[in-house]
Amino acid sequence: MSNADIPVDHEAETRPDLFQHALLLIAVCVIALAGNTVATDATVMQGLVGLIILYLIAMAGLVLTRLVPINLPSVAWISLIGIVVTLPWTPGSGWLLERVAHVNFLTLATPCLAYAGIAIARREIEIARASGWKIFIVAVLVMTGTYVGSAFVAELFL
């Protein structure tokens, strides 16, 4: 079989090079800044400073993804850096936290889902049509089962 059939890992794979990433991330942050200004009481300046910090964390993660020979997706590196710079015993973490507090986390996901809606390809719609209602029921049960199962086990050990 050909590898072309495997869908691109939209949320864990990195395709563009570092420079392109840097540019596209700026575009994304500008969009997020507009969203943040609409969604929260934060001023444009507060949102901008917070987003610049998040931008730098994301870029540091992208650089590490390329430098470190461990095969981790870039989002894993980005979240690790975000964690390390805000640990209570990291110097300056209080200052950073105050700045990023002005950026609403849920607003940051909004542009991503807009891109996701636009990215749906013809092939994906065909698969959904061809698989029909049975696969829809199964998919709902798969997600429900995974979610409730995880919550159940977590409940037991809390």
Binding site: I127, T146, A151
Partner: protein, 274 residues
């Protein structure tokens, strides 16, 4: 990948996303009360629907504004657009490290709860819906990209197992954020599970599923927002590390065994029954 100039020329794509984001955030969160709780409609859900509405593959008329070129260009942007979100999540996890370490055992073991899909979905698929080996691919996991890679590697994507995993993957891509937002808001208001447990369970899927899930939880219980996001984020990071191995060494073999048990009787029963 296209070259840098091409990316910048996709201004229609970025302009569309900018407008969609502003509209979605202006609408804000809407709570729809139903019997056992309430469903929270989040801006990210409107954004996805608006994205679909201007996708030329979904709405023919949208072809006048966006073409296949923009659709293709949007794909790598999903992961780039989630990066600031993931960075923000990291900054929520960091300050809560002590709480996360305290919840450590539950956090690690809840990964085993992902096998719940086999318990709930697999019998329905095989016994009620009469699915064949597609059920193995469809039900062994939550069908995100790493899980597809496992099935592609073992059976090939043209196999029945491959059709199963691709079907659930596509439905998850189309409806996953809605399903997780609805599940989380219903369970948060129903009071069966503790909020901490529900937060940890939010980490199982893709980044956008986690966003919808933890966002719905945080809006249902605003006073616990920090804790919810920290636990969901930590669980998601752990899933990167352990999820793949759980699938390869436990979930898939168990589903195979179950198919031998349930599936063998199934064809005979179906023949006599119909």
């Amino acid at each position: 990948m296209e070259n840098t100039k091409d990316i910048l020329l996709d201004w229609r794509l970025h302009a569309s996303v900018l407008v969609i984001t502003i509209i979605a955030e202006a609408i804000g969160v809407i709570a729809v009360p139903i019997g056992i709780g309430s469903i929270l409609l989040l801006p990210l859900l409107y954004a996805f629907v608006m994205g679909l509405a201007i996708n030329p593959n979904v709405m023919r008329k949208a072809g006048a504004w966006l073409g296949q070129r923009e659709v293709k260009a949007a794909s790598p942007l999903i992961v780039i657009a989630i990066m600031p979100f993931i960075a923000k999540f990291g900054t929520i996890i960091g300050p809560s490290m002590e709480q996360i370490i305290a919840a450590g055992p539950a956090l690690i073991l809840q990964e085993l709860g992902n096998l719940g899909t086999i318990v709930l979905a697999f019998p329905v698929a095989v016994l009620l819906l009469g699915m064949g080996r597609e059920a193995i691919g469809a039900c062994f996991s939550v069908a995100r990209e790493p899980n597809i890679a496992i099935i592609a590697d073992k059976y090939g994507l043209k196999s029945p197992e491959g059709a199963g995993v691709m079907g659930v993957y596509v439905i998850g891509t189309l409806f996953g954020t809605f399903i997780f937002a609805i599940l989380a808001s219903l369970l948060a208001t129903a009071g069966i599970f503790s909020i901490e447990a529900l937060a940890m369970a939010c980490g199982i899927g893709s980044g956008s599923m986690m966003a919808a899930c933890s966002g719905a939880l945080a809006h249902a219980v605003p006073e616990m927002e920090g804790q919810i996001l920290a636990l969901a984020g930590a669980s998601n990071v752990l899933t990167y590390a352990t999820g793949l191995y759980l699938c390869i060494f436990v979930a898939l073999p168990v589903t195979e065994k179950l198919y031998d048990l349930l599936g063998r009787k199934q064809p005979a029963a179906a023949n006599t029954g119909e």
